[in-house]
Amino acid sequence: MKMVGEILRRGSSEEVGVSNGSEQLHVLAVDDSLVDRKVIERLLKISSCKVTAVESGTRALQYLGLDGGKSPAGLNALKINLIMTDYSMPGMTGYELLKKIKGSSTFREVPVVIMSSENILARIDRCLEEGAEEFIVKPVKLSDVKRVMDFVVSGEGEEKGKRRVHKRRMEGGGVFSLPSQTLALPASLSHKSDEFSETSPSLTRFLSKRPRIPSRD
């Protein structure tokens, strides 16, 4: 799904992540797996981001100063441009973390991306409905991060409120957009949203906003 990416094609990848030429994007990565933290950190650094990686939702809230007033957010935390969090974590799930972030006046505008090794439609829906920008099925690849970067760099102030297409991954390793995979959309989609009433509300909302079928990556 390249709609936003195509609009934003900026040439060299070095440009991605540098919004005004002088500041790097600062990403907060949350994952209880040390292996995954190391990988996501490298993916983000290669994409010219500054990274703060923490191991739990609780630590993330502490960093953001959202842990019930025990500590205020530091200057760095206030500059966070993006939060990428794993879904399944002991203690607080990524979904619960997402809700807390969206419930905060300071951080509710910060895009949150959920990562999960499990490709569960209800889970994806729930996260998107709660305000997640995107849901990435693990393992996370460089192309996933680049796509998110494109969105964050362009999205600030412009694309807010539009839900990004998340990806589902087939067992065989294919990557494609959710709507075209599960719904076999006909070309005349735009005036047929009532045909898909059994789909989840978030999908129907998504479909009625985008009459053009996204093409396969």
């Binding site: 090794s117 693990k138 690849k141």
Partner: protein, 152 residues
């Protein structure tokens, strides 16, 4: 053929065989692409973390499966973690065993779980040896004057 070309060929062939035999998948290749001159040990480091994690999880699972009343939820949680990290480094065989392992946990089938655990440990040892060989070859390549970008 000079030493560098020879080593380069060896590395390419060996890596190809690891993919062909199902030890590694595309995700491993993805990780290799994240290396550059300033981070030549990135893959080695991630792999080390993986094996440390794997050994710890296997020990936990073994202990859990030995007890009188097996806490299958706990075992499943460990399998889930292992599945995640093996997927993140491209360790296909281990990841696939974990998928089967989880169904045995759900069925509360101790024997099935124990079999899976044995398979996981077996594959862990095999993969560790294979990757050590790969890293050794890469180290020789670098020592002989080869550069990391040439390996990508």
């Amino acid at each position: 053929m000079d030493v560098l070309s020879h080593l380069h060929r060896q590395i390419a062939d060996f890596t190809a065989s690891l993919h062909r035999e199902g030890f590694l998948d595309e995700q491993f290749t993805q990780l290799q692409k994240l290396r550059d001159e300033s981070t030549p040990d990135f893959v080695n480091e991630v792999v080390s973390l993986f094996f440390e994690d794997c050994e710890k999880l296997v020990t936990n699972m073994a202990r859990a499966l030995e007890s009188q009343t097996v806490d299958f939820k706990q075992v499943d949680s460990s399998v889930h973690q292992l599945k995640g990290s093996s997927s993140s480094i491209g360790a296909t065989k281990i990841k696939n065993i974990c998928i089967a392992f989880r169904t045995y946990c759900e069925a509360k089938n101790r024997e099935g779980c124990v079999r899976c655990l044995q398979e996981v440990d077996h594959e862990r040892v095999l993969l560790k040896n294979k990757l050590q060989t790969l890293f050794r070859l890469e180290q020789q390549f670098v020592t002989a004057g080869g550069s990391i970008p040439a390996l990508q």
